[in-house]
């Protein structure tokens, strides 16, 4: 009985986690990137999953906004899950490759939008300090 409950709960957890992560990404996917971030990250209009690690490294260089910490962690965990799926399950089900690639690209775009916000935030802080 416990095994059955565990399997059902784990399947539901996976489904809810994927949908929740996608709901976090959905809010930022419509937002265009500034020219500055496009230059820095090398992302033109749509990102690929390979950009994610690089954008995260750039994010670490900017001052952190506390309200973003949880979301970045959730999306990093989602990206890790997608990468694991791509190298395991997607080998058996080839149609999953395109889906995981698209989702990984959206994770990278989400990180780029967050980078954009952080740069704007840092600029505002600097402007405030200069005013003081």
């Amino acid at each position: 009985m416990a095994t059955l409950i565990f399997l059902l709960s784990a399947a539901a957890l996976l489904q809810f986690f994927i949908s929740y992560s996608r709901s976090l990404i959905a809010a930022s996917i419509k937002q265009p990137l500034s020219a500055e971030v496009r230059d820095v990250t090398g992302i033109p209009n749509s990102a690929s999953g390979d950009d994610f690690a690089r954008v995260l490294q750039l994010l670490e260089l900017c001052p952190e906004r506390p309200e973003e910490r949880g979301r970045i962690r959730a999306i990093s965990a989602y990206f890790g899950l997608l990468t694991a799926m791509r190298s395991t399950v997607a080998r058996i089900i080839p149609t999953l490759v395109a889906w995981t690639d698209m989702e990984r690209g959206q994770c990278a775009y989400f990180a780029a939008v967050t980078l954009d916000r952080r740069i704007a935030f840092s600029r505002d802080m600097l402007a405030q300090q200069i005013d003081v």
Binding site: A2, T3, I5, F6, L13, Q15, Y20, A27
Partner: protein, 234 residues
């Protein structure tokens, strides 16, 4: 679990729970999601109460153990009621409020009866029976909560509910219930697995974090297409 880590997680959890209420007050969502906010406030009160009992009687005392499990069952019932209010939000245009409330009460009573039926043959003294019942009820309510959240997510997809805040509240609750139900099942499968004891307090912090994010980041008017979030495309 070392006491210092336990204190730290508990303190972090309380801060996050308060931040949910503050965020919803700031964004004028406190009354709209009154039950969710009351649940968060009650978890803070319970955390303070548990801390008091812990500092007076110690971690291994029966007083602390009883306080912990009884308050946990009470909080699970509150969370169940909070989930039902999310149902009322989703079905508010269908005027089925009365039926939702009736079904919720019957389901809660049914879960309590089932839990009692499971434990009543195993324990002979009243104290042990009550403690066993409270633990069993809490565990079963997590699973019922998971099933109800899953059904609610199905209803959101079917009814094309677009309120982004509501969608994120339901999805984060789904993650929370399913993770807890999985942790409880894992604990039953491997009773001596120590790492499972860390899961519950950490999960306890994730729900307020997700809810605070939903209240803070999303305006009540923000919309999204739920079909795009589903794992299986619709």
């Amino acid at each position: 679990m070392p006491a210092s880590i336990g204190y730290l997680i508990s303190f972090l959890g309380a801060i996050l729970e308060i931040s949910v209420v503050v965020c919803s007050l700031k964004r004028h969502a406190f009354r709209r999601y009154l039950c969710l906010n009351l649940y968060m406030l009650s978890t803070v009160v319970v955390s303070i109460g548990r801390h008091q009992v812990l500092s007076h009687f110690g971690l291994r005392s029966s007083e602390y153990r009883y306080t912990y499990y009884y308050s946990d069952a009470l909080l699970t019932i509150f969370l169940y009621l909070a989930l039902i209010t999310l149902y009322l939000h989703v079905f508010d245009e269908m005027k089925v409020e009365k039926y939702v409330r009736l079904t919720a009460v019957l389901l809660l009573a049914g879960t309590a009866l089932f839990s009692y039926a499971v434990v009543h043959q195993s324990f002979h003294s009243f104290d042990k029976l009550l403690a066993g019942f409270v633990f069993e009820l809490s565990q079963n309510l997590y699973f019922v909560g998971l099933v109800l959240t899953y059904v609610l997510w199905g209803a959101i997809l079917k009814l094309r509910e677009t309120r982004a805040q509501l969608i994120q509240l339901v999805l984060s609750l789904g993650v929370y219930f399913s993770a807890f139900a999985a942790a409880f099942a894992l604990k039953n499968m491997f009773p001596y697995l120590q790492s499972v004891t860390y899961i519950a307090p950490v999960l306890g912090c994730l729900l307020p974090l997700a809810w605070a994010n939903a209240f803070w980041r999303l305006s009540p008017d923000a919309r999204m297409v739920p079909a795009r979030l589903a794992v299986v495309p619709r």
